[in-house]
Amino acid sequence: MANEKRKHLTPVQQEYHQFEQARETKRPVLKNCVRAFFVGGFICAIGQAISYFYMYFFDFTEKTVGNPTVATMVFIAMLLTGFGVYDRLAQFAGAGSAVPVTGFGNAVISAAIEHRTEGFVLGVGGNMFKLAGSVILFGTFSAFVVALIKTIAIKWGGLG
């Protein structure tokens, strides 16, 4: 807590604060970062392998291979979530498994599984995008804002 805020605390509160700080377990930040780095990197390496597979065996170029690769990665993540493997991976790797696009698949399917008991329409359909919906919304909206800025910069600012 910031020092300025601590001044307003009563002596008892300050004492409790010290008591708490002495006993709090430290977060292993570095360890978590290293785990996230390697697991995230591994997921990306698998993605790269899949995109090379599509380029080699099908008529996709580096420019167009992104779409099928993302679809495949999300599909694999969905299967792994259904089998309960991805949850364990996420426990271990944290952001390393949440930041890549596989984390998106996991967010959709885990919400769908959770609300399965409430029925297909109101349960699965209504709650499927509870977590991933915000990702889609932010993605679409920020893309819109960036496109707007770019258009204004090109049309009026003379950029481009």
């Binding site: 290293v34 008529d59 170029t61 580096e62 420019k63 167009t64 992104g66």
Partner: protein
């Protein structure tokens, strides 16, 4: 903690391997499969293609290049070295400008890996199977269409 330190150290050392050695290896492998050692098809009608490959390979940011020509069209595919890929747009512009100035043919230049593979396969076909110019042209059209594809 010590275990992690050792693990990080191992990965760091692995990534510090000298790149030149790796490149030589890949080139050696290429020589086994390739008929000619430079990237252009060796035929009397492929002289401009040879020249384009020489021109591109002289650039320090280009790793490898192949070129094929047929009936007023020059298809050039090149690969940019990994760390130079940050300047991909600039390199693309420079290469396109240099090739257009040098050759009067319609230049189709691409840094795409798929186009590179396809052009290389076509070049090998030209060398080994002695296919007609019409067939080369047909294949070039297919590759050109592929290179113009958008997402």
């Amino acid at each position: 903690m010590k275990k992690w330190f050792v693990l990080i150290l191992v990965f760091l050392l692995m990534s510090c391997a000298h790149e030149q050695k790796e490149q030589q290896q890949s080139l050696q492998q290429e020589n086994i499969t390739n008929v000619s050692h430079d990237g252009s098809a060796k035929r009397s009608d492929q002289q401009h293609a040879e020249k384009a490959v020489e021109m591109l390979k002289a650039r320090e940011d280009v790793k490898d290049a192949v070129a094929v020509q047929a009936n007023g069209r020059l298809l050039v595919a090149y690969q940019v070295k990994h760390l130079h890929r940050f300047r991909m747009k600039q390199i693309e512009k420079e290469v396109g400008k240099a090739l257009n100035e040098q050759f009067r043919e319609k230049v189709i230049a691409s840094h795409d890996l798929k186009i590179f593979w396809k052009t290389k396969a076509l070049k090998e076909k030209i060398e080994t199977k002695n296919i007609s110019e019409k067939e080369i042209e047909k294949e070039i059209t297919v590759i050109q269409k592929l290179s113009e594809e958008q997402t």
